[in-house]
């Protein structure tokens, strides 16, 4: 029994998933990519570019789910505003891609993006400067979400805003950004956002090879982030984080500055979200304020809940399954998919508080106990 109990304490078991996960993830992606590039379109095993981009999108969501899980599942901070960090990362990438269009926009203006031309703006707003440099844009993609997360977290955690209040505040944060980015004066293309991208680092975004490359990069980065996060969370810092989740005051009384731990974890998570956003945009081909909408942020939480929070693998699986289900539902029964989605949320929270991984754990537990019993009998 003791062995079992020990076995299921988080932070130890989830470590066991790392290797198989990485292997499968990279295996599947490489196979899929190869199938897309080297097989003829009529072959039975051919993977259409549609599927590739779809999978690419899912992986971005998986990364995002990871980010949410790290702070919610491990540190008990329920952020309803992670969509904001995701979108900010996305916008950074979007601005870069926008600048790459150069004079190939419909108005042929070498400097200004089309939406600025027909709202007849005269020169580029300052925050668009430098965005034509890939490295700079990518720096922004992680820096902007990171800094925002730091400022917000620093304020919130130091003044000990916790639980529901924090969740609502994060929601307010993303909602405010949503409204802000809708404004055309902001210079982010308003409701239309940024779209009609042409190429990235000189590679044509519409070429299959580019898509596959993006897809692979996403997969690899996901694997890397997964491993790193796993390492962090199974270090002593990971234990402190769990401690904070389970009893923050206790952790303070044994001498941990919990607010600092929370801030840095929040920043880390936000940065991951930013990266996910940056990878997401070139693959779906558009970024617009819709990504900031609070509903999206709630959905992310749901992915994690479904997969099983407190286990990284759970977050990833949750994201993949829910989004896959969504795609299928919208195709099969468009009118009813909200029912299904809604029902899923309710049932999971009611009957699978630890998500699918939790269920899997219970089943395993049962089997083992059964096994343990039999010899005695």
């Amino acid at each position: 029994m003791t062995r079992l109990m020990k076995y299921f304490s988080e932070g130890r078991t989830s470590g066991k998933h790392t290797l198989p996960f990485v292997v499968i993830l990279l295996g599947v992606t490489i196979l899929a990519s190869a199938a897309n590039l080297f097989l003829p379109a009529d072959s039975a095993l051919y993977v259409s570019t549609y599927t590739i981009t779809l999978l690419g999108k899912y992986l971005c969501y998986a990364m995002l789910a990871l980010a949410v899980d790290i702070i919610w599942g491990y540190c008990g901070i329920l952020s309803l505003g992670h969509g904001a960090f995701f979108a900010l990362g996305g916008y950074a990438m979007g601005m870069y891609l926008m600048r790459q269009i150069g004079d190939r926009g419909v108005y042929g203006n070498p400097l200004l993006p089309d939406f600025m031309v027909f709202l007849d703006w005269k020169e580029l707003p300052w925050f668009w400067l430098g965005m034509d440099q890939f490295w700079f844009a990518m720096l922004m993609a992680v820096l902007v979400p990171g800094v925002l997360a730091f400022v917000f977290g620093w304020l919130a955690f130091r003044s000990r805003v916790t639980g529901v209040y924090l969740s609502i505040m994060t929601q307010a944060l993303t909602y405010a950004l949503l409204l802000a980015f809708f404004r055309n004066e902001m210079g982010f293309g308003g409701n239309n956002g940024l779209t009609d991208f042409k190429e990235i680092l000189g590679f044509n975004l519409q070429a299959d090879s580019t898509r596959v490359a993006l897809f692979l990069i996403t997969a690899i980065l996901l694997a890397v982030i997964f491993v790193v996060s796993q390492k962090i969370l199974s270090s002593r810092l990971g234990k402190v984080v769990l401690a904070i989740r389970d009893s923050e005051s206790r952790s303070r009384f044994i001498g941990y500055r919990t607010d600092r731990y929370k801030v840095w974890l929040f920043v880390y998570s936000a940065v991951i979200a930013g990266i996910a956003g940056a990878l997401y945009v070139p693959q779906v081909g558009i970024i617009n304020p819709g990504e900031f909408s609070p509903i999206n942020s709630i959905e992310m939480v749901i992915w994690v809940a479904v997969g099983g929070r407190g286990t990284l693998i759970g977050a990833v699986i949750g994201a993949l399954l829910v989004n896959y289900a969504k795609t299928r539902f919208t195709a099969i029964m468009p009118d009813a998919w909200l029912f299904a989605l809604g029902a899923m949320f309710v049932l999971v929270t009611l009957y699978l508080p630890k998500g699918l991984m939790g269920l899997y754990g219970q089943l395993k537990a049962k089997r083992n106990t059964v096994m343990n019993k039999e010899p005695q009998a």
Partner: protein
Amino acid sequence: MSALALNGLESTREFFRRDQVWPFLAPEQAQVNVGNQMILYVEDLNLSFDGFKALNNLNLYINDGELRCLIGANGAGKTTLMDVITGKTQCDSGTVYFGQNHNLLNKDEAEIAQLGIGRKFQKPTVFEEQTVFDNLELSLKTDKRVLPTLFSRLTPTQIDRIDDVLKTIGLAKHRFMLAGALSHGQKQWLEIGMLLAADPRLLLIDEPVAGMTAQETERTAELLTSLAGERTVIVVEHDMEFVRSIARTVTVLHQGSVLAEGTMDQIQSNKDVIEVYLGEEAAGEEIA
């Protein structure tokens, strides 16, 4: 106008005082200065929750290495006092010094804990989702800033330390059990163990034997008495038997201030104590 000038002058003087260096230049004194045997100074402490005076001009001095028992009826301010000492709640007025050089009132829980003040709560609070071992590992006396924690590894000495703590609290064979799965008494022990692992100068222990069996209680008594000497221990307890068994000095709190102080016998013979605290017991005896 001139007044202003004077003020300005005053403040500058204040700022350039000869007899002391600027606070930001002063060296960080990690060592607790226990020059005259005193480790804790609590002076005219006041605190009120909307109207109700939880602490009322409370004065308390604890010698280095002594074992002190705090008793008092519910609402006498025992727990509140501990809250103030450990930085959980801010007091309205008064001073709390740890040694002669650490003003606890301008520090937060974490800092206070790092100074070497350990606290055990009324109802045991341990990290239920983690193993007994992890619980102890977390409470070890180490550098507790973020990055060091991230890269820290368990050193053999630390492991040994954890092991003998495990022995002292008799949970050696449960080391890989989830803390949540322990019995109530065992949790109490684990929490004490967590204090030990941090080897503090001062332990504040709130009702250690609540919900313990007789022999568990006994062992707790032994443990606490053994601790005293190298460490300072303050125990809050309702169980008079237990108090009598460990106490050297007892302080009686009543309505937020010290009512009496002395050995158990002195206390029991003390008039007003009998009135306010043992009052009903005495009455009970008479009736019996």
